[in-house]
Symmetry: C2
Subunit: 200 residues, 2 copies
């Protein structure tokens, strides 16, 4: 076996295997794809990986990934600096930006409280959020953690921590997804949609 | 939008998206995973990618991927140099090595003839195989291309090219996969298994 695979190949297979959702079989396939692809494909990936960490950092205000600190969102004077949307991941910032219906700031927690996965309140950026609110500019905190057990627990904890700070705390509405079909919607979502029904 | 994603991040997402089976969503997820993972994870992947092409080449005899030319299999005197298994991809070499029931040499075609994908007879290493056989050491060519339209066409073409060279040409048996269930086996495989039935 060891005869058949040169070391640079096994090393790349191993490195790919450490990525989430990439098993040993896909790791081999990716590696052998790159062996046959033009040099430029693996070179570009290699360079991008090298630059990812060296050229980015966390914004010291909102903890989103950024090249410059503070990040372009935090330093944009046209945005509403009184409203902060609290999200779990940088990708959630993208999702909300994509809607075009939010012009406030963000706070990226980098996770959600999850005792089962050993993620406690100090492993996510909640203390940093409290300190940010204590500085006094914030009027509303929109908690945009994922709907689900861990996102709910995180939202609840944040609400407790901020209860005495005199800011309005809201949470994204739960209900039927647009384009969804009531017949196929799960019972929890449907029950939330009923509780949150609005007058026409 | 452009506000929200720093360039080193989009560059890596783009580079991941060029890999087969990695869509834009998985590319984002891999990138944000690496942003949170220890530096060493992305560094190791970056280094392995850089070394993949610079430290490997094709064996000039069998066209398998190798660090040294000729490759360890071609230069192993304990292997049977009279038998060559012809495979489509380097991964097929691994699969056959894993069986432990073959001690001959290999010839890696790097593809199969596929007019529909624009892959002609000169795009795979068939001419190199014919030249190798013409050197005279080979007694048997085992065609181990994939069972299927393209692998069959490739096998047929190779057989024509080698017909006059005085070597025995065989092909891997088709039949029921071990552990398979006749009820679920496709009709083509089952019909091949019937044609190729052997006496007990």
């Amino acid at each position: 076996m060891s005869n058949a695979i040169p070391e640079p190949v096994t090393k790349l297979i191993e490195a790919f295997s450490r990525l989430p959702g990439v098993g040993p079989k896909s790791a081999s396939r990716l590696t052998y794809f790159l062996l046959r692809a033009p040099d430029e494909v693996s070179q570009r990936l290699s360079d991008a990986l090298r630059d990812l960490k060296s050229q980015t950092r966390f914004c010291s205000t909102c903890y989103n990934i950024t090249v410059n600190d503070p990040c372009p969102i935090c330093s944009d004077p046209r945005r509403d600096h009184h409203v902060i949307a609290v999200v779990e991941e940088p990708l959630d910032v993208l999702a909300i930006e994509r809607t075009g219906s939010f012009d406030g700031l963000y706070h990226v927690l980098h996770g959600a409280i999850s005792p089962i996965n050993g993620i406690g309140v100090d492993d996510v950026k909640i203390r940093e959020l409290v300190q940010r609110v204590e500085k006094g500019d914030t009027l509303e905190i929109i908690i945009a953690t994922n709907p689900g057990y861990e996102g709910d627990a995180t939202a609840m904890y944040i609400q407790q921590q901020l209860a005495s700070k005199g800011v309005k705390i809201t949470r994204l509405a739960r209900g039927l997804p647009v384009g969804g079909d009531i017949e196929y919607v799960d019972a929890v979502t449907l029950s939330r949609a009923l509780q949150g029904r609005s007058e026409l």
